[in-house]
């Protein structure tokens, strides 16, 4: 396994943003497909991968466009005009 992902693995799946989760999932898929993993490691990777995929799915389903606006150098919420 590359060192980067074993370091990332310390972060709980529930805390990851979509981009982080997806990037790690991608890494795991590549690792599982490419490298010769020890079985125990492979199973760990698989479980982590499944959790990451589930996390991504949840985030995708829950996604809502966040709109804010700049005011000077501040970022403030943007109230859309309802029509």
């Amino acid at each position: 396994m590359p060192k980067s992902s074993s370091k990332k693995a310390e972060k709980a799946v529930e805390e990851l943003t979509y981009e982080e989760a997806l990037a790690e999932l991608e890494e795991i898929v590549t690792a599982l497909e490419g490298e010769q993993n020890r079985l125990e490691e492979a199973i760990k990777l698989f479980e982590r991968g499944q959790a990451l995929a589930a996390r991504c799915g949840v985030l995708l389903e829950a996604a809502e466009l966040k709109v804010r606006q700049v005011a000077g150098d501040e970022i403030i919420p943007f109230e859309e005009l309802s029509e």
Binding site: Y18, A42, Q50, G57, D73
Partner: protein, 403 residues
């Protein structure tokens, strides 16, 4: 005909002027007219209103443009400029002067605008602002999208709807700005700059459709330079398909409409992400199953190898060897016993042949003394009582006489 001295109709100047004014104001053509001419006597007092005279070779027309319209003016007026002025004819009753109340002014025809456009385009192009090598790619999966447009326009609504539909994961930062009129260019520049301080992945610079004058802010040199200087890549979607502005040339990507700009900013949609995720799920599963299958196969191979080198096999063969030896030992023993038996048999037969008693059957007898059992072979050995053994038994005898 002589005018009558005592006319029935008496007109005051005011009434006549009012009458003329009504005539002018009731005329549809005069209330919605475009007039072409050259500007002269241009004056712009502190009130903010603009006064000038529009003239051609043989006539002149007084014009006034009120402050509110003047603020929306997209061009800088100067004496000698050929312009087209839109407005309505009215009367300034104080001086009895008819004049054009102007609400729009544009350089003559599209020719003048086009020339200005071409001049600026050539200049900026020469500076390299539009060079293809300056174009940056739009990130495949932006997380923050900046939008510069009017906060109230349909363009914003279209873009937000498109983003919401395609990729609701993104965060939008809006930098609202007027998009037409004289205040638009500096405001657009400021919006682009303050957005850049938020480091969005891409900026959408957009405005809905309108006339060439409406879109003119996007041909303003300051705005074009701000687009070129933006650190985030810019997608420009101004007007309609057929409208080209200098911002389009300076932007990294030109979109035909605001909606198209939002689409170009989200090359990956929610659907793509879902499909990609499914693909990963499938791959991770099949990779793991494959790995497990490989492990199983190599385990099976090892097990059969192990079986091959197992002591079990040796034990079995040892056991067989022991059996074999036991069998051979047994056979050898039997053989020996048989040999012995045969030998004993022979001996027996030889013994039988040598049996001294064998002659008894032929009528001989063995005589032994009764007292000590010794054989009486000679007369001198005879006792008083003796036993006589014949072939099938014995009997006792007493010596009677000696001869």
């Amino acid at each position: 005909m002589q005018p009558t001295l005592f006319s029935t109709q008496q007109w005051t100047v005011s009434r006549l002027t009012f009458y003329i004014r009504k005539l002018l104001e009731e005329n549809e053509i005069l209330q919605d007219v475009w007039v072409q001419g050259e500007i002269s006597n241009l004056s712009r007092p502190a009130s903010g209103h603009i006064y000038f005279t529009l003239k051609d070779a043989s006539a002149a027309l007084k014009c006034v443009m009120w402050k509110t319209s003047a603020a929306r003016l997209g061009i800088a007026l100067q004496d000698g400029m050929e312009v087209e002025v839109h407005g309505k004819i009215g009367i300034y009753e104080v001086s009895g002067q008819y004049q054009l109340y102007a609400d729009q002014i544009r350089p003559v025809g599209e020719g003048a605008l086009y020339q200005e456009f071409m001049r600026l385009k050539a200049m900026l192009e020469a500076e390299g602002l539009f060079a293809p090598e300056r174009k940056r790619p739009i990130p495949m999966f932006p997380q923050t999208i900046g939008i510069v447009t009017s906060a109230t326009g349909a363009a914003l609504r279209d873009m937000l709807n498109t983003l919401r539909r395609r990729l609701p994961l993104v965060q939008v930062i809006l930098a609202p700005s007027p998009v037409q009129g004289t205040e638009a260019p500096p405001a657009l520049v400021k919006a682009i700059q303050s957005l850049n301080r938020q480091s969005p992945d891409v900026i959408l610079l957009a405005r809905g459709g309108g006339s060439i004058e409406d879109l003119w802010a996007f041909n303003d040199e300051r705005v074009v330079r701000a687009v070129a200087a933006s650190s985030a890549p810019v997608i420009c979607g101004v007007g309609h398909e057929t409208d080209f502005t200098l911002c389009d040339f300076a932007a990294d990507v030109r979109a035909p409409t605001p909606t198209a700009a939002a689409e170009l900013a989200t090359q990956l949609t929610l659907l793509d992400l879902r499909a990609g995720l499914q693909n990963y799920k499938t791959r991770i599963l099949s990779a793991t199953l494959k790995l497990l299958a490989e492990q199983k196969t190599s385990l099976a191979a090892l097990v059969s190898q192990l079986r091959y080198v197992s002591p079990d096999r040796r034990i079995q063969s040892e056991r067989q060897r022991v059996d074999e030896l036991a069998r051979r030992a047994h056979a050898a023993l039997l053989h020996r016993i048989q040999l012995q038996a045969t030998h004993v048999n022979g001996m027996e037969r030889r013994l039988a042949a040598l049996n001294p008693l064998a002659v008894l059957g032929r009528g001989y007898a063995v005589v032994t003394r009764k007292d000590d059992g010794s054989v009486v072979a000679r007369l001198a050995q005879a006792g008083n009582e003796m036993k006589v053994r014949v072939s099938d038994g014995e009997f006792e005898v007493k010596k009677s006489t000696s001869r």
